[in-house]
Symmetry: C2
Subunit: 362 residues, 2 copies
């Protein structure tokens, strides 16, 4: 039914192999022949069969992207960037949702996604304790996010510590001294390097550097990181009667909830309480007031991760090159919630590049 190379070959009066050579831009095809073949291809509407190509070459031209949930803004934007980066290289992307299911994540890591040449994996339930799993991975894999460091695979992530520190230093520069942080995770031995602990570390460093006394009561444990949880935590904070004049939320989602809670309690942002988030999701410049945030460099993360994955794919399964670690440059985005431009909708956002912070061990 479908048009094959054979059909094209007959019309163009050449062998199927010559058609293949034309399609794949191989050298040593006479211009006249090439033209004749292309004409035949256009005439018949020939399209290469990817399954056959995949079978023969061992490549599918498809990569996988595994995230917890696409409906979380952060992952949707990550997927957007990854798909765009892959498209530039002529690759398609199969998106898989793990839904916070640990078994599912392990299964994926063990077997990969069918039909793909490699996988970009942003786990949620795996920790450094699962590092050993990675040793048996037999397909190209690039890890995204913060959960597993020091594994045997490539890893693309962000400057959690220094970016968080920059956020808090910004609050301090506004004269704030009683800075709460929302989103700490209970200390888990195995997840010392999760994004929560890393960002908390940045927070503490900033306080210490400014000589501000560290009040553990201002570190609010919140898990998971949904907006409702952020609101709940902010309400607890307000009810506690503790004095505070700024909040650093470990994600923008948490910040959205916190903004609501502050509004309900009649605390003015940023006058009474300055707020800054982390992730710079699209919505954050549209909240009331617009939300200051850390832009973690999503485009750079996507671009680098796809690039690394493509290299691994091209090197082949056999190659055992050492794992690489890349941390994307971040930006501090100052908006109304921490005293940026007070009005005017397409809020002029001050940017403070964190590119130089790439040196740091954040």
């Amino acid at each position: 039914m479908a048009v094959t190379m054979r059909d094209v070959a007959i019309v163009a009066r050449v062998s199927p192999k010559t058609v293949s050579n034309v399609v794949n831009d191989h050298p040593n095809v006479h211009p006249d022949t090439r033209a004749r073949v292309q004409q035949a291809i256009a005439e018949l509407g020939y399209r290469p069969n990817h399954s056959a190509r995949g079978l023969r070459s061992g490549r599918t031209g498809v990569i996988g992207l595994a995230v917890p949930e696409l409906k979380q803004a952060y992952f949707a934007e990550l997927a957007d960037a990854v798909i765009a980066a892959a498209a530039k290289r002529g690759l398609s992307v199969i998106v898989g949702q793990l839904g916070g299911d640990r078994e599912h994540e392990i299964e994926l890591l063990t077997h990969g996604l069918p039909q793909t040449d490699g996988l970009l994996f942003s786990p949620e339930r795996l920790g450094t304790e699962d590092r050993d799993l990675l040793a048996y991975v037999d397909f190209p894999l690039v890890m995204l996010g913060e959960w597993i460091f020091g594994g045997p695979t490539d890893h693309v992530t962000m400057h959690n510590v220094s970016a968080a520190r920059a956020a808090v230093e910004h609050l301090i520069s506004l004269g704030r001294r009683r800075i709460a942080v929302i989103g700490a995770h209970p200390e888990e031995e195995t997840r010392q390097l999760g994004p929560s602990n890393l960002r908390i570390q940045g927070y503490r460093e900033a306080l210490a550097a400014a000589g501000i006394e560290h009040d553990p009561r201002l570190e609010l444990v919140v898990a998971p990181w949904h907006p409702e949880d952020g609101a709940e935590a902010a309400r607890d904070l307000i009810r506690s009667g503790l004095e505070f004049d700024a909040i650093f939320t470990l994600t923008d989602s948490l910040a959205l909830g916190a903004l609501r809670a502050l509004g309900e309690a009649g605390r003015a942002v940023p006058d009474d309480v300055a707020v800054i988030g982390y992730d710079n999701i699209a919505i954050s410049h549209l909240t009331v007031p617009s939300l200051s945030s850390i832009d973690p460099g999503r485009a750079e993360i996507a671009e680098t991760a796809v690039g690394m994955l493509v290299e691994r794919i091209e090197w082949g399964a056999g190659s055992s090159r050492p794992p690489r670690l890349h941390k994307a440059a971040f930006d501090l985005i100052v908006r109304e919630s921490s005293g940026g431009a007070a009005a005017g909708m397409p809020a002029a956002s001050a940017r403070k590049s964190g590119a130089t912070a790439q040196m740091l061990s954040g």
Copy 2:
């Protein structure tokens, strides 16, 4: 390198075909043989090669989903639902972004996505004038969204007219009479059936039914539908000096901008101005105030669309069954912005089902 059926067959001392029969649950395999084969499969860690299977069977087990941009909340949530619905049926999803590029959309429609068995397509730049393109589509295709009605393909969409009407009737029930609408598109001959015109129609119907005079100056033309545009339109409206006590925005994105603009101008929501959006994106229950909206039935849309596509795939390319049209049931979600529960974060949202509205011609 990879383990094949042949390898399994040797270990299990059967023919490759028998392995195939076991893998595919074919009848007439002796239990003992089956057990021996499964043991061998487990032992060797055999996994079927999808390219080969695809080549042989003509199916890839992958469907495509084409949307304008994943970073728009509506499409991210749609993709989330589609991927989940496909996963239930053992299918993977390749997500393609058209980026509002008309050429790209046409190209996709003409050729399909490589590596897939069928396509769910949510166009942005195509209109009813492109209906003819669909006549030449030679792969399973299900259209999503409102742009092209009456084409030769299956189509899953929402009750735009009746849902919009329900939204406006809700505002009227609050005693509002000067109801502005943001998001009208310039009347384009070819797009009479776009979501904008359909929703505007619902708006007018509601006004007419309530005997409220229709003031064309309250219909604000806005395109595209980004939040910034919503804010701009709301500011224009305020500046115009026209009296109004409610706004219906044709999407939640527009509403986000409108809420900002109202806030800047010191108009209280919902006391001075009630606001309702359309789409019920995740963020809308977290805005300040939380946003009333129309839930268009995303899960139902995704579920139905995937189901229809699977049927088309199973029927084969030859079958020329008549196109089907499905409109998902909608819900009216009342939140603070139109007088719902005034405080309390997980805002108790009144739901008014629009399931019965499926009868209507919305």
